[in-house]
């Protein structure tokens, strides 16, 4: 059986900074080594930029196995120790169903339906009418 010449690509995943947030967008196949590299890159980016949050956009990821799930959990744990919150955004329903059946529910991981929602969750509480009385979202 042939499936063309182009193999699964393993590229360096870019970490973008948007204000106080580091945005990481994952696409398609992620090799184990690329995932581990990402973990290291995010740790360094958080420490070096004093970013307060990391958003991992997984809407382009078709498969999350226990290895990649563990990488997400470890990224979040690392970031937390570096005083940053992590939100995994845009998980596909089929991936969520599979992870639960696999037994990997990632209880410590914050999630959002998409990046916009994630950014809203992470935005500092600001209410022009009652300064200082903003809603505290998950300390």
């Amino acid at each position: 059986m042939s499936w063309g010449l182009e193999g699964p690509v393993s590229t360096h995943v870019p970490v973008l900074r948007i204000g106080d947030v580091l945005l990481v967008t994952l696409q398609g196949e992620l090799h184990d080594k690329a995932a581990e590299q990402l973990q290291q890159d995010i740790g360094e980016a958080v420490a070096g930029s004093s970013a307060g949050a990391v958003v991992i956009d997984v809407s382009g990821v078709e498969i999350v196995d226990s290895f990649l799930g563990r990488v997400f959990a470890e990224i979040a744990a690392n970031a937390k120790l570096l005083a940053a919150a992590t939100v995994v955004a845009g998980m596909r329903p089929a991936v969520a169903i599979t992870l639960v059946e696999l037994g990997l529910t990632l209880p410590g991981l914050r999630t959002a339906l998409d990046v916009q929602e994630a950014l809203r969750m992470l935005a500092p509480p600001s209410s022009p009418l009652s300064p200082g009385q903003g809603r505290q979202e998950n300390a």
Partner: protein
């Protein structure tokens, strides 16, 4: 019982993490060809990824063979992961969630079993391991009998 006929789709090596990605890609294409829906495809690819990683990490590398199955009106896909590694001394224990001999979460075998319709292991210490999984199109998930 209707006779099951099979046609080998591919036999792929599992020697590196690049091969793991190839296995996932192949299973994705084969599963789509058989006619699995999106959720079933995702489950099967994920199970394949877990098992291929076991073959690589615990078995020291090996191969996977995929076979298109035809049983009357039912179509399916069978994947057999084979290694020549140390084998699994206690299969029941290896299937228990949380048990791991490596650095993983210990969800690989038991988790993969939950994602497929049929699951079997042939292993003995010193003689390698062969794990076979089968998924059928349109068959509801197996009941959760293992409430351990």
């Amino acid at each position: 019982m209707t006779e099951t006929s099979g046609r080998v789709a591919a036999c792929l090596p599992i020697r590196s993490d690049t091969d793991l990605a190839w296995v996932r890609q192949h299973v994705r294409q084969a599963a789509a060809e058989v006619g699995f829906g999106l959720v079933e495809q995702t489950k099967l690819i994920t199970a394949a990824s877990e098992l291929a990683r076991n073959t690589l990490v615990h078995g020291g590398g090996g191969q996977v063979e995929s076979v298109f199955l035809d049983r009357g009106h039912a179509r399916g896909l069978r994947l057999t992961f084979t290694d020549e590694g140390p084998g699994i001394p206690d299969v029941e224990r290896a299937l228990t969630d949380g048990y791991t001999s490596g650095a993983g979460l210990g969800l690989g075998l038991g988790g993969a079993r939950r994602l497929v319709h049929e699951f079997s292991i042939d292993t003995s210490p010193g003689h390698g391991t062969s794990v076979t999984v089968v998924c059928w199109v349109g068959v509801p998930p197996r009941p959760r009998e293992e409430a351990r």
